[in-house]
């Protein structure tokens, strides 16, 4: 098998990796923000210190961060069958992978958002309040843009990790890049598929770093 051949066979895997990567980001970035709201919520319907929303999201975040992503993928994929006896079809693979990745990364992003939101000075809220901005206007016009700038380096780290983490989807035989490389390598008894896979992840991350760098530059017009 020539390198061209291997690459074209891996091509489908690359597309699936990209699909998983972008779907995860599109879901987990906003979901993380919502979870961070829950985490910071001061809602205490029974009075006192018991804040159910905050507690639940804390538990959720701690489980997501405290257990292996690989295990979470398997639970999402096999769970419906083991728990409810629902027959799993192959088309569920992609959804299971995206769900598992999205809820896992949302937990990490939630903590990043929280750190960013809590780092904004109280004076920004007070100035906005005095000027008559509503709570929503204050958050989306004044606070969030500043948060985005501050959390960008941490988000970049997570995104780079995500590129590499997509390979974990092999545990449910989702035919992403790494799974394909493994199959071809075994069939051809050749290292080349792994080398191509490595180059692919590396170039992917190079692009991610470049894009994030560009965004960071664009936001550097103020301190």
């Amino acid at each position: 098998m020539t390198i061209q051949n291997i690459i074209s066979q891996l091509g489908e895997g690359m597309l699936k990796t990209c699909l998983l990567f972008f779907s995860t980001l599109i879901i987990s970035l906003p979901l993380g923000l919502i979870i961070s709201f829950g985490r910071m919520s001061k809602w205490a319907p029974f009075g006192g210190k018991f804040k159910p929303l905050s507690l639940i999201t804390r538990l959720y975040i701690s489980i997501m961060r405290g257990t292996p992503l690989m295990l979470q993928i398997m639970v999402v994929y096999f769970g419906p069958y083991y728990l409810f006896g629902i027959k799993i079809s192959a088309s569920y693979q992609i959804y299971a992978a995206i769900i598992a990745f999205a809820i896992n990364y949302a937990a990490y992003f939630a903590e990043i958002y929280r750190g960013g939101i809590e780092s904004i000075a109280q004076g920004q809220y007070e100035a906005a309040h005095i000027l008559g901005f509503s709570k929503n206007q204050t958050f989306f016009r004044i606070i969030l843009p500043q948060v985005m700038k501050r959390i960008l380096p941490s988000v970049t780290n997570e995104v780079i990790t995500l590129v590499k983490d997509t390979s974990l989807a092999f545990v449910i035989a989702y035919a992403e890049m790494f799974t394909m490389a493994k199959r071809i390598a075994a069939k051809e008894t050749s290292m080349i598929p792994f080398v191509v896979a490595g180059v692919f992840y590396y170039v992917f991350n190079l692009i991610v770093a470049l894009v994030m760098n560009g965004i960071e530059k664009k936001m550097s017009y103020y301190k």
Partner: protein
């Protein structure tokens, strides 16, 4: 006409009673200076008037509209959310630490609330901003970002930002305290000009000469009480209270 009327304000943070029966009045066009040692409750008083804090009891009336009054049990009851928002439109506040929006240009710092809160057009709000910046001696700084300006310039932008909403009363919480001494003059000059235009102002300050020469009324606060309240002449030259005398001897050398 009374612009601010506050009666028997009380406010505690936990066990710490910060405002103990504070009453004051501000007439239209007057400048009220509030002086006093740090921790005496001056900022808390401004923050209660501007709705950044709530009082525990007492009455606040702004431009004839009641913000808060006592119920029969002597507990503060605030007006509706809508009324509170309307009342807060009478007031502008200038902070010690400017609190400009760092991600907005000078222009957008001044136009954003005009557009979003007052619903003014882009063009109209920008015209207002350009005019105010000229008045603040900052013509041509429209496209600068706050981080590119000196502290004195930032504070002048924040004054322009407050004025852009056309408040009836402008309140200042130690507007020069975060500035290098050589920059305080430019802020005081702007405030003097506003006073000359008969802008109603409440100014918490450690600048005794400003209080003495520009203010119409001066209040000395200590430990949550108003100890002295009168004209600058009353407070600075005919000081009655020993604590006021002790404070003035430290901050004010008599010219």
């Amino acid at each position: 006409m009374k612009m601010i009327e506050a009666n028997n304000l009380k406010k505690s943070f936990g066990e710490n009673e910060v405002l103990k029966n504070i009453s004051l009045e501000v007439d239209k066009g007057d400048v009220l200076a509030i002086i006093g040692p740090s921790g005496s409750g001056k900022s808390t008083l401004l923050r209660c008037i501007t709705q950044l804090e709530t009082v525990d009891s007492g009455e606040i009336i702004i431009c004839g509209d009641t913000l808060v009054k006592n119920n029969e049990q002597g507990k503060a009851v605030y007006s509706s959310k809508k009324d509170k928002a309307k009342i807060s439109r009478h007031l502008g506040l200038v902070f010690q630490s400017f609190n400009l929006f760092p991600h907005f240009s000078v222009m957008r710092n001044i136009t954003e609330a005009q557009r979003i809160v007052l619903g003014k057009s882009k063009q109209e709000s920008e015209e207002t901003a350009v005019e105010l910046l000229k008045k603040m001696g900052l013509a041509g700084k429209e496209n600068a970002y706050p981080c590119e300006l000196s502290g004195g310039q930032q504070q002048r932008v924040s004054i322009a930002r407050a004025l852009a909403l056309n408040p009836d009363i402008l309140l200042f919480d130690e507007p020069t305290s975060a500035l290098d001494p050589e920059l305080t003059g430019e802020i005081l000059k702007v405030m003097r000009a506003l006073a000359a235009e008969k802008m109603t102002m409440v100014v918490v300050t450690h600048e005794m000469l400003f209080a003495k020469n520009v203010a119409d009324k001066v209040i000395f606060m200590d430990n949550g009480y108003i100890i002295e309240n009168g004209t600058p002449d009353d407070v600075f030259n005919k000081t009655r209270n020993e604590r006021t005398k002790a404070f003035l001897s430290r901050y004010y050398s008599g010219e």
